[in-house]
Point group: D2
Chain length 339, copies 4
């Protein structure tokens, strides 16, 4: 942390700050320039508490953080990429790219089973599907809840797939955990701290979606919330950020892949379906993601997108998904990965 004093800070004000830093248990390093006085504090410190403790001191112009605020999620905690095991023989973060696919919302047993079979055949290892749906309107379809979880589990068991599904309420973590292999935390809940802590208290992998306007730092701090409870199995998922563009539903931030992998040891997954909102952009987005080093893809697939209760316009039909996976294999090979 660097404390920049105002041009006209008085000697007394500088002394106050220096004393306060010592009181907090840190060592101040003052340097005086022609115009500005700056005071460095170098060491392992809590940035948020330091800002709180010094923010109101007169004479201070600004506080400039230097160290990254996350610990467990960062590369300085663990320099090797983390490989997270989801089940025996199913992992993410290694050489093999993990394919997760399925309908946006679970609508019926038949829909889930037929989709599970199709995505399994195409190469997916994990079945996605929402039983609890976050909807902008209270009047929209909110999911089948436990019934939906059961359909997912049945379909997964029958096909040998693993399950990923969203949990939205801390009170539902136990229930959802009975059916799923991976907890999904949605973008709107990226900073729902009580929910993060609750899944942090389980030992199941958690796929954490980036908030619509979260910075990488905020995203990793949300992962830190889960990890600080003891669950290190966090998978980061980019699903599009809000920009001024309205042609696409969101702007898929593909450059997040190399950046997050540089800052963190956690695996990175791309959701091109929500990320673009258009089924015909899912293909190009997936290709870019693989070329740029993504560890997994989460794609919406539906037997009849035109009849979908949710997100039909961004869902792929079975055959389109299978074709896409074939094309992705060539790109994976070109960058030294397997699908």
């Amino acid at each position: 942390m660097i404390i920049v004093m105002r041009d006209n800070a008085r000697e007394k004000e500088i002394q106050q700050v220096v004393e306060r830093i010592k009181e907090l248990g840190y060592t101040p390093h003052p340097s005086r320039g022609a115009k500005k006085m700056i005071i460095g504090i170098i060491g392992d410190l809590n940035r948020e508490e330091l800002i709180d403790s010094l923010g109101a001191y007169p004479g201070i112009d600004k506080l400039v953080p230097i160290l990254e605020p996350y610990k467990l999620a960062g590369r300085s905690f663990k320099d090797e990429p983390s490989v997270i095991e989801i089940a025996e023989g199913v992992a993410i973060g290694g050489k093999e790219i993990l394919l997760m696919a399925g309908p946006c919302a679970v609508e019926s047993e038949e829909q889930v089973i037929s989709t599970a079979r199709a995505v399994k055949r195409a190469g997916a290892r994990v079945l996605r599907g929402g039983a609890f749906k976050p909807r902008t309107s209270p009047y929209s379809f909110q999911g089948l809840h436990e019934e939906g979880l059961k359909y997912l589990k049945t379909a997964a068991d029958e096909t040998g797939l693993k399950v990923i599904t969203e949990v939205m309420d801390p009170r539902d973590v136990e229930l959802v955990g009975r059916y799923t292999d991976i907890f999904q935390i949605g973008a709107r809940n990226m900073q729902n701290f009580y929910l993060l802590k609750e899944v942090g208290n389980t030992d199941k992998p958690v796929l954490l979606k980036r908030g619509l306007t979260a910075t990488y730092k905020e995203f990793l701090m949300a992962a830190e919330y889960i990890m600080s409870e003891g669950n290190y199995n966090v998978i980061l998922c980019e699903r599009g950020i809000r920009t001024f563009e309205d042609y696409t539903r969101n702007t898929l931030d593909l450059i997040s892949i190399p950046v997050l992998k540089k800052l963190s040891h956690l695996p990175v997954v791309i959701d091109p379906s929500h990320g673009t909102g258009h089924w015909d952009l899912v293909g190009p987005a997936s290709k870019g993601a693989i070329a740029m080093g993504a560890d997994g893809l989460l794609i919406e697939v539906h037997p009849e997108p035109m009849k979908a209760l949710s997100d039909g316009q961004q869902s792929l039909k079975f055959e389109k998904y299978a074709e896409l996976v074939e094309q992705l294999k060539d790109i994976a090979r070109a960058v030294g990965r397997d699908i």
Copy 2:
């Protein structure tokens, strides 16, 4: 809702869409231009479900919503401004502007009581203070929890103030409700739908903070979630939006006041402390808010900002707060309001 077909949409595709609209129970109104075919659906419809139902149809270029998606929160539901009673003799939305003030975080009984007395003297009617604190870092001070709620309640009872405090977890609604007069929902939880429903099931007023990058429409839809459960006592609170500016903590969107009051009948409160992040901007921001028609102000006041555990840099000292209230009275008078 207007459905715009692609330039080259085939007759069969147009027919499919027309049929689907009828299936959903609406009446399609097709109009054919030189280049484009458009199909209108006029009536009381659920926008989100309609988009879901039609989004994947081939031949459709885009879906353009016409009606606002909120019902209970909008002016078409209730044309008069809502006056919400907080307790006998304390209301918001009428001629009198409601002042709410207190520390960011509850730190000690003494801190809360001294602040309660000071803000009461200056003219506040409601005491604010956080017992559950949403923090970016899991390692930061997270609040005193129930102990903090007790301090707040004691201080309020002693001074005759009412209490507003934040609830973050649906499991805490009952507990917090025992101590508070107004539930505060924080910006990060604006779309925590289970929490919204939970406070929607109480009959206490709810001050709903706008999410950092929420549009007015999304803000009103979050209010709609609460109202659709039966609790119509929602107070809208603008607390700064995220922009590219980094000098201020957020960009306080003051034009939201006349816009929200035009779109909705709900009262509008401004939080100039979080909205700016600088104590010396709280004064100008409050003056602007009153001049533009705000129904209330939520301001951070602390006995010793330099010793605050949270947000000291944006908190006013007692005397500064009292001076500001005096200045605000002149502006309130100039726009026909009372403080």
Copy 3:
């Protein structure tokens, strides 16, 4: 400037950076912490060139600027607010708030003269009107050019008003300068550096509009471009920034008023017409602006908004404008200013 070295920076890399700083003529101040090495450079330096000179050095984690990049536009250059004289008896930046008003585009001699008379009567001192119009579409009305300038000048001369009008092309500065008292630089041209230099070479006041997504720093750096050529008569104008909100044309950033006046000595004007895009928001926005310390208002007024060739929906009729000015006088008085 603070240079933060990577955790694992080698001694040789640190030495290279230290040497390079000396080569550039500055004094490095290294401090070593438990994990990080930081190197301060305190002094009067060119941030952009320093970043360019050091950006590619291995071992550097990041460069953190400390001093503000602007010199002439900042408070450290001149601590008193600047009062800019537009003509004898007409100034901006003092106790009196300057009202500028007129049509968006100059359409005819009659339109301009009738508007000039109306706004003069209401209290305006400066007549606005566009003869060169920046339009998103090349197929839209682009303005009357020199003919429009003549109408403006005639109307101003007849009514005793001064003229403000936009210049878009460096080749037109001389021509426009023959007719106008204040050059207006539009938001899209805030970083049209050749145009800034050209008006910087005149001695006429320049009203510089903030770019749609410019930070305060970038805005002041654009003012610096004009001032560095010798013309210190720069007026800053906030006209709305781009946010995710689509209800309003732009989001008027009123908190920019106290911030810009804290960072800079230059006067600040608000354009509530472009800033909101709705004529019925011009009133509330103007009231907020005056309450928050604006030095002037630039408002669109049109004899018949329904017949306007440009921006009719945000223009006030004559009587509405006159009424608004009356209401603003009360607020000005409440904050110790005159209209």
Copy 4:
């Protein structure tokens, strides 16, 4: 264009609008719903002028554009992708991906010649280099101007490369045109309409960079400005947009590639150097761009990035560039393109 009337619009107001539409030469198509009246205007119309003409009418709630505002730049004007010839045997938009590379700023003859040789050897066909530099600060290095253009031309002639360089001032178009094969319009000048018209009056290809916060529509409208003057040889270049992320210089919007190619027939180029601001992200970004269908890459290469006068931190050394091009060949092959 759809005109949505207010819920309470009076019959007279509706008639006024209908009359005005007829006056403007269009055919109104009114449809009446339970709550709302909407009036469609279908046909080839000028959206901006229509908004201007109707915006101020009482009773109108909003105007909803339906048709895209660009004509020449859109797919409905030309359905086949445009292949633009830069010189004999050098084209963009076909099967072969065009590589453009060179230093950010031209600094010396030697620097340019050595870079030209290196990038030619690696596979580039066009040499980039700035002689006129847009800088945020008036005190920064602004380029070598005509001297720099001469160095570029000499280096290109010697190596058989073509030249791309930026023009910033309409007065310099003739001068720059004497030395360059492609005009580059920088992001800050995307809406410098006089400059766009000036290059639109030449017959040289123009590489138009997307503005920092421009939507796809605005980007294509800027291309339309150039094309409407008769020069159809426009190349679209994505170079990063402004988001809330501050780790990278900008956020490179790679999904723009498939979207722009769907909306427009013009070729799309990616600039991963400005787009990311970090040399070690240039590789992943380039791979993603090729996988997603980019027609060209514009990359900064410098003999000694540590000595660069501008943008050293995002420039590749010769050998890194050559290595990258080799890796890109594999990805190009996987998507059926050549490098």
